[in-house]
């Protein structure tokens, strides 16, 4: 952290008051990435970090499967096994799927609404660094040999000091707390962005479905994160300051944890799935060459899911002793929520129906989502039936359910998105052949791994046991599942190879010409890869699928005829008079302080001191930082406007003013 600080004092010729530093001037290489406030770079950072954690989580999964491949497995001991499955779940949910969604949201959402950046670019950068800090903090627990071991939902009182005496659950509580702040800040940021920064003419109901789903997700996060924040604080206080929230010995009711966790937790599962639904809703129309069937239904069912998702949480607690009335009510509400979900599936099918389908890798993954999520949704309905769930809960049947929805639904959707938007982001496509290997290995391996878990679960194999004895009929399907897990691993390897090989192939070649897929939404107005300033000129929007309508029209016989080529419609990306927000050192400084505070809580309160100081310095310098860099690469005429934001301080709620790129958009016109 000290590196940029050292450099600061020299910056900015004009005499600035004490503690006010000019903004970084780039400098190239990694410094550009550390100080960037560009939503596209931040999106790429999110994606890269998520894939890194995906490697870790996947490795943990393979160890779990190796241990379970045979009865009386001895690959890992019970203690390590507990840590493995806990960290696998936590990593995949919080450090892979959520940041992948953030990657796509950051990169695409401003483009899809025709904006030059998000509303608060520096806050956006801070969100990423906080997420990374939280993720690294969590995984640091491996290095001290004391990873969380209470399961991703961390039921009390098992997570109290009595039963979890190590630091594992503290890493869990603090790490997730930091990552949670990141999600909350980014949710607030994106909500303001969507509401305030759409291009002229883009009404809410002309927004692409992906943008809509991301918006719904941000609302879910906005209201769900504070609930887990409370839960994690209570856990932390119980463990470290002797509070009694979950301590039955003192008369407390540990069910409080379950309620708080699942009030957060069920909205959270929609946070995981809706971005993928959004991606699929972009991919399927493009590759079926038809508009999305029932756009309004798609949007409204997404909103409906967003609302109903709040009223079903206790279906995770059917056997926790919540009483017959609660069980009845939550059974009903859970069954209802399957309706809007079903609407979406039918709409995708209807979109494909009669379309000119092109089975690209991206489209294959999208159809994978539709089919696999349907299976997961159906098994979900089977445990919405509470009497049936009494049999299923805590068995591998549940493991099968949530992997069908999260792997089959969410993760495959992100892969579909990778293949679809790779040319937009990196200027070249991913290879189709390896892409198809990627898809088929993953989908076959996935079904081999998780399909049999339905059977294992109904036959009574419980989840979270580190091994099982021979003779219960578990042997065959467990071995089969382990083989499947390695097939998945090969699929992922294909993806990694594809990334490397296609980058190598593209080297020296001109970037992908605009609009590789005959796509529909605003991001394709920009050349590939997207230039730093996004749009040369802000697009005036007059319809849903604006980009498509500029290329195609219907003649008097109702046939679709071309009105312009993509090259004519797309912008060239060579505008040089666009003013962009300048980079900043401070988001990463603020984010670096929090894990130090965390270590302080765990080991020695004195470590909190430098952490707090770092945060305070970061916030102070952030607030006093000059708003713009007039000499920056895009330093067009935008004068230094009065900067009266002193006094905003301390916490994320008081984010200071950021330049509104839309404002500059006006000056370009």
């Amino acid at each position: 952290m000290s590196e940029p600080v050292a450099e600061l004092t020299s910056g900015g010729g004009a005499a600035l008051p004490l503690g006010v530093y000019s903004r970084p001037k780039g400098g190239g290489g990694w410094r550009d990435w550390v100080t960037t406030v560009d939503h596209k770079k931040i999106g790429i950072l999110y994606g890269g970090a998520a894939l890194f954690f995906f490697g870790i989580g996947g490795f943990e999964a393979l160890l779990i499967r190796l241990q379970l491949a045979t009865p009386n497995g001895t690959v890992v001991g019970a203690d390590l096994y507990n840590q493995l499955y806990t960290m696998h779940g936590v990593t995949m949910v919080f450090l892979v799927i959520m940041p992948l969604a953030a990657a796509f949201a950051n990169y695409l959402l401003p483009l899809q609404i025709g904006a030059r950046d998000v509303a608060f670019p520096r806050l956006n950068a801070m969100s990423f660094w906080l997420f990374l800090a939280g993720g690294l903090f969590l995984n640091f627990s491996w290095l001290v040999g004391d990873a969380p071991d209470g399961g991703w939902f961390a039921y009390a009182p098992n997570t109290g000091v009595t039963f979890s005496p190590g630091h594992g659950m503290d890493f869990y509580a603090i790490g997730l707390q930091i990552a949670g702040i990141a999600s909350l800040v980014s949710a607030m940021n994106l909500i303001v962005t969507v509401l305030n920064m759409r291009a002229p003419g883009m009404t809410l109901f002309k927004m692409p479905v992906f943008t809509w789903m991301i918006l719904v997700v941000q609302f879910l996060l906005l209201f769900a994160i504070p609930v887990i924040t409370v839960a994690l604080f209570l856990l932390l206080f119980d463990r470290n300051f002797g509070a009694n929230f979950f301590n039955p010995e003192m008369g407390a009711d540990p069910l409080l944890w379950q309620h708080l966790f699942w009030i957060f937790g069920h909205p959270e599962v929609y946070v995981l799935i809706l971005p993928s639904f959004g991606i699929v809703s972009e991919v399927i129309p493009t590759f079926s060459r038809k508009p999305l069937f029932g756009y309004e239904f798609m949007v409204f069912s997404g909103i409906a899911i967003g609302f109903m998702g709040w009223g079903v949480w206790a279906h995770h607690m059917f056997v926790s002793g919540i009483g017959p009335i609660s069980i009845g009510a939550f059974t009903l509400s859970t069954m209802f929520i399957a309706v809007p979900t079903g609407v979406k599936i039918l709409n995708w099918l209807a979109t494909m129906w009669g379309g000119k389908i092109r089975l690209t890798a991206s489209m294959l993954f999208a159809t994978g989502v539709v089919s696999m999520f349907t299976i997961g949704g159906l098994s979900g309905v089977t445990h919405a039936v509470s009497p049936a769930d009494t049999q299923q809960t805590d068995t591998y049947y549940i493991v099968a359910h949530f992997h069908y929805v999260i792997f089959g639904g969410a993760l495959l959707g992100f892969f579909s998105g990778f293949y679809f938007w790779w040319p937009k982001v990196f200027g070249h496509r991913l290879g189709e052949t390896l892409g198809k290997w990627n898809f088929w290995l993953m989908i076959v391996g996935f079904n081999m791994t998780f399909g049999p878990m339905h059977i294992l679960g109904l036959n009574g194999m419980s989840r979270r046991i580190d091994t099982y004895s021979p003779g219960f009929g578990f042997e065959f399907w467990n071995l089969f599942a382990t083989v499947g897990a390695f097939v998945i691993a090969f699929g992922v390897l294909c993806f990694a190879m594809n990334v490397i090989l296609s980058a190598r192939r593209a080297r020296g070649l001109p970037p992908e010409p605009p609009d590789p897929w005959d796509a529909r939404s605003l991001e394709w107005f920009t050349p590939n890869p997207t230039p730093v300033h996004n749009f040369d000129e802000i697009v005036e929007v007059s319809s849903l699928d604006e980009f498509w309508h500029r290329k195609w029209t219907t003649d008097e016989n109702g046939r679709v005829v071309r009105r312009a080529t993509a090259a004519e419609v797309c912008q060239t990306g060579d505008a040089d008079d666009v003013h962009l927000p300048s980079p900043s050192y401070w988001p990463v400084v603020v984010a670096a302080g929090l894990p130090l505070v965390g270590f302080g809580l765990l080991y020695n309160l004195w470590i909190c001191v430098p952490g707090t100081i770092l945060v305070l310095i970061g916030v102070y310098a952030w607030v006093f930082e000059p708003p713009d860099d007039p000499d920056g690469p895009f330093g067009g005429g935008h004068g230094d406007e009065g900067h009266g934001d002193e006094g905003h301080g301390e916490t994320e709620e008081s984010a200071s003013d950021e330049s509104a790129p839309q404002e500059e958009a006006a000056s370009v016109e």
Partner: protein
């Protein structure tokens, strides 16, 4: 009518230059919207803490009961102090909107002072509870009580820091009519913290609590 702007969004409120939010589609300032979005989220945070308190308020068998230990007259006074700080806060804003820097500064400082008085009262309350045998670890009730009111106290303290920073920048001449929105946003936060206390004061203190 602003509703139409939001949902139709056909007419971006461009050229709205005197408001400082020219260029946003809704005509609403990004910063103010951010604060309101944040306050919406805070409702769930305090809701969680209040619920955690409510289900634990009768779990006190290892220590004093809430109904026996609360000092209603004292808390009433400090609640009143916080309530009045909302008035001074809004007067500070209204002064700055008129361009009255001097009164703005006075009211900002008064608000910070009233907030500090409230915090002082809380410190006194906590220490006297401690003396009467109600520590943080005494019972589920005590943990929940100190956590809830402590979180609120931290929010007030953050507000005081923001108010003081505003006052300092006023002395340095950088807080003028032009950036009254900054004061307004800090004010929103401050009033929010006040309404949370309105809730806490009634539900936690005034509604009769279990006695031993």
């Amino acid at each position: 009518m602003s509703e139409a702007i939001v949902t139709e969004a056909g007419e971006p409120a461009r050229g709205d230059h005197d408001h400082g939010d020219h260029g946003t589609l809704t005509g609403i300032s990004n910063n103010k919207l951010l604060m309101w979005v944040f306050l919406g989220s805070e409702c769930l945070l305090f809701g969680g803490l209040i619920s955690a308190y409510l289900i634990n308020r009768s779990r006190f068998h290892t220590g004093p009961a809430p109904g026996d230990i609360f000092d209603i007259p004292f808390t009433s006074v400090s609640s009143f102090v916080l309530l009045m700080s909302s008035l001074t806060m809004v007067l500070a804003l209204s002064a700055l909107q008129r361009g009255d820097i001097r009164n703005n500064r006075i009211w900002l400082l008064t608000t910070a002072l009233l907030g500090s008085l409230f915090i002082g009262g809380q410190v006194y309350e906590f220490t006297s509870f401690l003396r009467e045998g109600l520590g943080y670890t005494t019972s589920p009730f005590s943990s929940a009580f100190f956590t809830l009111t402590g979180f609120h106290g931290i929010h007030v303290s953050v507000g005081i820091v923001m108010l003081m920073s505003l006052a300092i920048s006023s002395y340095r001449g950088t807080l003028t009519q032009k950036n009254s929105e900054t004061v307004e946003i800090v004010g929103l936060y401050w009033h929010f913290v006040d309404v949370v206390w309105i809730f806490i004061f009634t539900v936690i203190y005034l509604v009769p609590s279990p006695t031993s």
